[in-house]
Chain length 343, copies 2
């Protein structure tokens, strides 16, 4: 087994603004594996606001003992990976091993998991915040081709958040809309805002309170009236160990491969969450078609899919899963089903 | 897709005694599926003391709408199976679909799950109760070829149970021993017996109190000293929904395909149990090599394997997973890896 890593420099079409700040370039890392005539590719997102760096991820990936990488016993290999320090490095190697494994068996991963690719839910397209109201209105109309839109809120000014939601509902009357506060509300603000989100028929509210604000989650659960949109935890979710503390607080969880460490932990989280009655969303970072196509393999198991990370990139080096009429189309090719684009 | 069922009449080598009673014949049902050039076989155990009958299981299996049986989307098919009334009928069709699926993909199931067949734990060989002490001693020596022996207790007389454990430890000093009370103790008896099981180095105690005696489980958890053998729930375990109520009470669960409804729910239980820190045992009923080989596919994920159900049968119609030196050897053949024996 040979392993090599490749630095990506993903250029964003437009600077992406969320409550953490704005960004124009992302430096993810590709992991390439080769064994005999087969090869596999994985992607490690490198997300600055999770305090991850390309240097650190590369360091971990370069120091994986190659003798433990065995796709024949994929489950054992993944369980034994010594990468608990970096979920993103783990994502890179987990994806590459899954891709290689699927290619060796000649099957797409969703097929090896017995999933029907026609069961993918609608994919949400994300609309970042804009300070200028006119720009925001234009952005809404530019995105009207997507049937399901996710509005980023948590601007720090609940009144402004509300104004954006109201505008979106007015301008795009028939669209399915949802909101993501990215943890930008206090519990008190959320208690005011969430009923208003219900009024504007937002199908869910993502991460209303801050990542570690479990008191806030408890307050919402205790004090919100019935009939509210489901509350989906995102920043409060990391890996497998983060699911159980959210049972009874959130209505669902957003699973991201970069945060949980790849497809194996994601699948464990799915089983665990379903057993506890949680709804499921699959999310992404700013990632190329490698990581997006990996996440898309799990889409048939999801209630919501937020897999637009590659649509934001000008120079995606791969093609794979793609969006058509707002729905994910899974590639009919082995492993992750991705192909390098011509330079 | 064609489905046919076949009645089995499994003859036991010796009448099998547990705290429920004795039995000499079992009438399980085989499910045969055929699609194009591939076929699959599954087995529904029919366990009288679970109030299941061959008539009922056959009825359910004959009324499965064939149009929903689709191995390409195995996960969907299994999720949609309308068989919540009979976990054993469900086991039959779940196993047959998995076998067919594995054959279509040309891979053993453990390989499709990425499991290393060399990681199977020791298999326990079960020694039933005997009223006559001399017969019991002979039985112990007849089973000395197996490194791990499970002693059935719960005779109704704790003193007699203890006598059998003492004799087993004396006669088979170096063997690994464990006990199964089959729910035959009251909580008070269990509080006395379990520390004695520790003295005799039993590696676990299975189902000390009755199936529905959750007060008993709580008493044990509260009142047992530290350093006791792990308590494994068996009768208290049914399907996926039965795992969470045992968290914090039992140290582990015994998963049986006939009780949970096949390999799909078993795999969900595994993920769920591990996430909650439970140990895992895979168990069986009196079953042919079809069901035993199915359960054996999961053995690499287990701490303990109690898969001797086929060793008790005189006329096993199939061969598949087999025991060698007390360990399960998984067949290197697609699907369940079983083969019909010559008549």
């Amino acid at each position: 087994m040979q392993l090599s890593i490749e630095q990506l420099k993903l250029e964003l079409e437009v600077p992406f603004k969320i409550s953490y700040g704005a960004t124009t370039v992302r430096e993810n890392i590709l992991v390439h594996l080769k064994e005999g005539k087969f090869s596999g590719v994985g992607e490690a997102a490198v997300v600055p606001y999770y305090n991850e760096t390309t240097a650190r991820v590369s360091h971990y990936l370069k120091h994986i003992p190659l003798e433990i990488l065995n796709t024949e016993f994929l489950e054992d290999t993944l369980r034994q990976l010594p990468l608990s320090e970096s979920s993103m490095a783990k994502q890179g190697i987990d994806l590459a091993l899954h891709d290689l494994w699927g290619k060796q068996l000649g099957q797409p991963l969703y097929r090896l998991w017995g999933l029907n690719p026609d069961n993918c839910p609608l994919v949400s397209f994300t609309i970042g915040m804009e300070e200028d109201v006119k720009t925001y209105r234009e952005k809404l109309h530019d995105s009207a081709q997507y049937p399901l839109l996710k509005l980023k809120l948590g601007s720090g000014d609940p009144d402004y958040d509300l104004k954006m939601v109201k505008m979106a509902r007015t301008e795009l009357g028939d669209h399915i809309l949802c909101v993501d506060a990215n943890g930008g509300w206090s519990a008190e603000e959320a208690l005011t805002m969430i009923p208003k989100m219900a009024d504007y028929e937002m199908i869910f509210v993502e991460q209303p309170v801050a990542k570690a604000d479990f008191d806030g989650w408890r307050t919402l659960r205790k004090s919100l009236p019935v009939g509210m949109p489901p509350l989906i935890a995102d920043e409060s979710v990391q890996g497998v160990e983060s699911v159980l503390p959210l049972v009874g607080l959130a209505d669902g969880i957003n699973i991201k491969l970069a945060k949980c460490g790849g497809l194996r932990p994601a699948r464990q989280m799915i089983t665990l969450a379903r057993a506890h009655g949680l709804q499921l969303m699959i999310g992404c970072m700013v990632e190329s078609s490698v990581a997006i196509s990996a996440a898309a393999q799990l889409a048939p198991l999801m209630d919501y899919a937020d897999l637009d990370g590659n649509l934001l990139i000008r120079n995606d080096p791969y093609s794979g899963a793609k969006m058509e009429n707002g729905r994910m189309i899974l590639p009919d090719a082995p492993g992750l089903g991705v192909k390098r684009r011509a330079e």
